[in-house]
């Protein structure tokens, strides 16, 4: 049975129970975060004594608030959190976010308390996110229900994270990569809402184009992977699963009370069910970014074009390991390249095509990239370029070539994060994801093919 999470993610109004005015406290930060996020509906800070927080009227209790409250974010300690659930129900609250720790992750006493919390919420029929979570962000609806506010870029990727800290890592990496985020959910202890509830919601959410998941473990893993099998036909699901060793399995258990389970088994099952499985946050973001920005290739044949051999070999290395192919270019492609660089140039006509010294200026770079992506045996191009202070990146050229051939292109610029910011914006706006490491570029290229294959094979069988 799907739960109605729309009122939590797109509330008309929200209250913060335990709002405060001390900047070092969670109760202040959640409230500030909502204001900062630009939420348009009424916001009600609740505190027994305070009169005003950040220019907003404070109410002593939830039932004193002058309008209906769709979402209550509870920033009280674990005991008071449990006590206040009934008041929320009486006031017609449609969804709760509980950030307090001290529940299932804290041993027998905490497990008992969490059981009371989930029983109450379930009895009263109120979906509850958490406890023990940073909260969530609906960036599409400007609703920032978290005490870790970051100004996110808008876009089509939504994230479900079992860990707040890892979720935060993903947001930070998304900012560095200029990847647009749609929703971000720290699931916490999953007292009433499991992974699959969020997955089901995001699967139906029309503004979510790609779903990224960080998970440690789940008791309901089977339901989760079955759901991935359905959703992956509509949109890609990328999963980073922690817990490769017995010891870290144990750590996961003591963190969220869930058994992580053998890593390899998990990975295989996830893959069989149509998830794209990755090994690091960097790969998670790399894949989500490519899948949210780029069209898909028809196959796995990658045309690599570069003016510097090393990065192309390292990227090819990773791509070949993953399962891509590097086809031989057609004689006409070689001829087109020779038309640009002249006869007997100091370059080798192979894939990766290394334009060497002749590929620095953007114009001939573009003409050679045109030959590569136009090659009939090339499904997707990886275009590599090294930043030089006197020469501009060939971003316009790569975009033009992509548009001309209507095949996907991924750019890999050897530069540091700041240097490529402007070009990243330009390329990504036009559907060409940009990376600055070989591993991430290679993983992204393969993810585009992987998803193409997932749609085809899952549709068949």
């Amino acid at each position: 049975m799907k739960k109605d999470l729309q009122p939590i993610f797109y509330p008309r109004s929200a209250a913060v129970l335990g709002a405060g005015d001390a900047p070092e406290k969670v109760g202040f930060n959640i409230f500030e975060s909502m204001v900062y996020g630009g939420f348009k509906g009424p916001l009600y800070p609740i505190h027994p004594k305070l009169k005003n927080i950040l220019g907003y009227d404070v109410y002593p209790r939830l039932d004193k608030v002058p309008g209906p409250v769709d979402v209550a974010v509870i920033a009280l300690n674990q005991f008071n959190t449990v006590d206040v659930i009934e008041e929320c129900a009486r006031c017609g609250v449609k969804g709760i976010v509980s950030v307090a720790g001290g529940f299932g992750e804290m041993g027998a006493e905490g497990v008992k308390l969490e059981k009371r919390l989930s029983e109450k919420a379930n009895e009263l029929g109120i979906p509850l996110i958490g406890p023990n979570t940073l909260g969530f962000i609906n960036n599409d609806g400007n609703f920032y229900a978290t005490f870790y506010p970051l100004r996110l870029i808008k876009g089509g990727v939504s994230i479900i994270s079992q860990s707040g800290g890892m979720g935060l890592t993903i947001m930070q990496k998304a900012l560095d990569e200029m990847m647009g985020l749609n929703k971000w959910i720290g699931v916490g202890n999953r007292a009433t809402l499991e992974f699959y509830d969020f997955l089901a919601y995001l699967g139906d959410d029309p503004t979510t184009k790609v779903i990224g998941v960080f998970m440690e473990g789940s008791e309901e893993a089977l339901k989760f992977v079955k759901l991935i099998r359905e959703i992956c036909l509509k949109k890609p699901v990328v999963v980073f699963k922690a817990g490769r060793t017995k010891e870290s399995d144990y750590l996961s258990m003591t963190h969220t009370g869930s058994l992580a389970g053998p890593y390899r088994l998990y990975k295989d099952i996830l893959r069989q069910c149509g998830a794209i499985v990755v090994d690091t946050v960097e790969e998670l973001v790399a894949c989500c970014k490519a899948l949210s920005l780029s069209q898909l290739p028809e196959g796995k044949r990658v045309g690599v074009f570069t003016h510097t051999a090393g990065p192309s070999i390292v990227a090819a290395d990773y791509m070949l390991q993953l399962g891509c192919e590097l086809p031989k270019y057609a004689p006409e492609t070689d001829q087109k390249v020779l038309d640009v660089v002249g006869p007997n140039p100091p370059i080798v006509l192979k894939n990766p095509l290394d334009a060497a010294g002749l590929g620095f200026p953007a114009i001939p770079y573009g003409r050679m990239a045109d030959a590569v992506l136009g090659d009939p045996s090339v499904d997707i191009m990886l275009a590599i370029y090294c930043l030089h202070k006197n020469w501009r990146f060939p971003s316009w050229e790569i975009i033009d070539v992509r548009n001309k051939w209507n095949k996907p292109a991924v750019a890999y610029y050897v530069s540091n994060v700041g240097d490529s910011a402007k070009d990243r914006e330009m390329l990504q706006k036009e559907g060409v994801p940009l990376y600055i490491t070989a591993r991430e570029a290679a993983r992204a290229v393969y993810a585009l093919y992987e998803y193409k294959q997932i749609i085809s094979s899952q549709a068949k069988g």
Copy 2:
């Protein structure tokens, strides 16, 4: 026999043969790069017709230059490069850098030409870097002999790279990580100077504290690894070897004319000889940075301290896979933590110690970090913190604790590159390397232990 490379790396004067005034050409960029790098000795641009480049007098030929020339950088095409070697010898040049492509990497004709080049240079007794290289940088001596100038930070790490592009990737990553570089060498086709010549030079170089190597392959691999066995007792050697698949072996061959060789075998032999072997540029820089900044731990027992469980689990995951241990803290350590957070706090007393909500403010974070690093079973601390816009990073606290216990600490801040720049500078100046990804932080922690072990075991046997 060791070759005398001191006059190349620390020349008194330098000439650029084929210097030009067109910003899109290599001949201009090399000369500009030397000026930009801040070289103090006389610089002589050589060109048959031009009179002035960037305010410097141009000379029509090398023998018209008014003083002695230690280094000649040849920015001519492959044919003219070979022809000009004798003139260099006549003028007393002590070292040559040749950047042209079109040699061994270009098939049979190129191989022949390269043979002529190396025979001439060897006959005349002039060490030659290249051909087919971006050049080199001696950042310690402000000598930038490359057409890819980047303003590097000064420090103790020197890099030998078989690929210019990968060498550039390493420099860019070093900038993002604020890792100081001492020398950077693009070895190119190794016509007269092999990997081991550079390794031997850097092994003896008093300003180089750590050596990082990117390699595709070498015909003289045995000499190379034997040399690592000697040098690793004096300073760490970190190696990233490309070419994991047969196909990419082939690509390496067509790039530099060398056979890459089976990856796994290479890796095992390198490790046995005392190299620290890594899988990506990111890990290469992570390890070099830690080894150049931090003291070494006595053992592999890591105390992990965090206020957010997820990143600690992911980092622990990687560290346990690599071979670290996470010891149980002593009862006194737990007591010290309870003294900070009070009885019955919502935290679990284990390793990783997760201070949860109570660990946000820097002061109590510092007191708990003090308990962790002070624990008698802890050899090294990994301190994890998540950026929050209202709270400062606990950098001073981590530095104080490191100084108090005189044990190494590594910081892992969940933030994007720009956010942590100031703290990175502060921490790293004090010998605490900072990372923003779990994988890099974990790899760095293990590298410190690895090198400790290398010194001990190689010294014994």
